[in-house]
Symmetry: C2
């Protein structure tokens, strides 16, 4: 047996997210099928984390155990030949048995992409959230500076209470404390690009932070109110959830 | 009656090109329908030029005469509300009666987008031609320098002999002399971006120039052979036609 690490990019438009679900088209499901076809055995595939329906990835990481001795470079070609075009294996490599795509992850980087122009250009429509409203960018910049650090992010958790596990933590973990290493905003013409790097993220956390920051920019919150949000740990106080299609899992870092 | 100018962007993936054809989904057809719905009268819409099936546009220009007094800004919203999402009217304005989207055009800019990496990232797949072969970029750069100027581009015309009319020339015009103002290549990571600006283009001209330049980069032509191509005015000597989906009508300039 050997442990194989894959880096995977996908356009999430046509998928019900990462995780296998009966009767749904998922990225993990498509990968399991492709690996089974290429290696002859149905694998257990671990992903670096779940992504919601419609969320994209430039470089999600996954791993699986296999008996197959197919060289890694051939594996990339063979998997891509049997995967749909909106999922691509960018690279494959054999890694030590101790490597686990989720548990070994040190940090994840997400981007959230917003388009502010009046009319959404078709070539951006799949990956950008159209937000053609006046925004006070300075307020957003002030707000985003509050976020990095170790905090209880309960205010930005999904209402459903589903929580993504912290890498390395037990499966039962339901705490909402996370460490955000970096939270940035970059303006490029009519594009607004948010970047978040963290040890782990709660379900909907990035989309809720972005939705709330945009509402801060529209003066639906004051800066002190925004700051209080984090402390109050109450999801009902935060702003709306930005839509899935603007979110891109950008990179996963390992030790 | 007033003359309305539209700037239109579209993802050409799902269209049989610009020009109305019976039974086919075309961009011109979709615009005619939308304008008819908004103004109550079926318009004659002139485009800055035809685009082939699968070709994209960031800013194609069109114009039509209308009795409607709807303000231009409302027209943008109303048209986009009835157009499919992969076609967007970016702007509308009233222009002098003398303005004609094709005849008044001074130059057109096309981009051709190539991706050279081994695996095509899904987010680029719609607009980039996947060309994962070793290319001698210096050869391509030398070749492209030969192209600007007034030349008989017959060697780069479509085999079918269909020719796009020169702006301002009579409909019967079938000459293959065109003026290319600019032909450039830019490298950005694994992306290769060709830019061509000209007074007008023959059918398939950009795609044939790119196909031939890429083959020059792979040493299927020498530089002297490439240079002779232009002079020989014989389509059978040139390289292959690069696929439509890498081509983007980028801009149309007017006096």
């Amino acid at each position: 047996m050997s442990n194989v690490k894959l880096t995977v990019a996908f356009d999430g438009t046509g998928y019900q997210g990462w995780q296998v679900q009966p009767g749904a088209r998922t990225v993990q499901g498509a990968l399991i099928e492709a690996v089974a076809k290429v290696t002859g055995a149905k694998p257990v595939i671990h992903g670096s984390g779940r992504t919601d329906a419609g969320v994209h990835a430039r470089a999600l990481v996954a791993n699986f155990q296999t008996d197959s001795r197919i060289p890694a470079s051939q594996l990339v070609k063979a998997l891509n030949a049997s995967l749909p075009r909106d999922i691509r294996v960018l690279s494959a490599s054999r890694v030590p048995d101790s490597f686990h795509a989720r548990i070994s992850a040190k940090s994840k980087i997400y981007r959230y992409q917003v388009y502010r122009g009046a009319v959404m250009p078709p070539h951006l429509a799949r990956e950008f959230y159209h937000y053609p409203y006046p925004i006070d960018l300075e307020s957003v910049r002030h707000g985003i500076r509050i976020l990095p650090g170790e905090h209880d992010f309960a205010s930005f958790a999904a209402k459903s209470g589903k929580v993504e596990r912290v890498p390395g933590s037990p499966a039962q973990d339901r705490n909402t404390i996370r460490t955000l290493f970096r939270a940035e905003i970059r303006v490029s013409g009519k594009q607004l690009i948010f970047t978040f790097e963290g040890s782990g993220f709660l379900h909907h956390m990035v989309r809720n932070m972005v939705g709330t920051l945009l509402e801060l920019g529209r003066a639906r919150f004051t800066l002190p109110q925004f700051s209080e949000l984090l402390q109050k740990r109450d999801r009902t106080l935060a702003g709306s959830t930005a839509p899935a299609h603007g979110l891109v899992l950008w990179k996963v870092k390992y030790r």
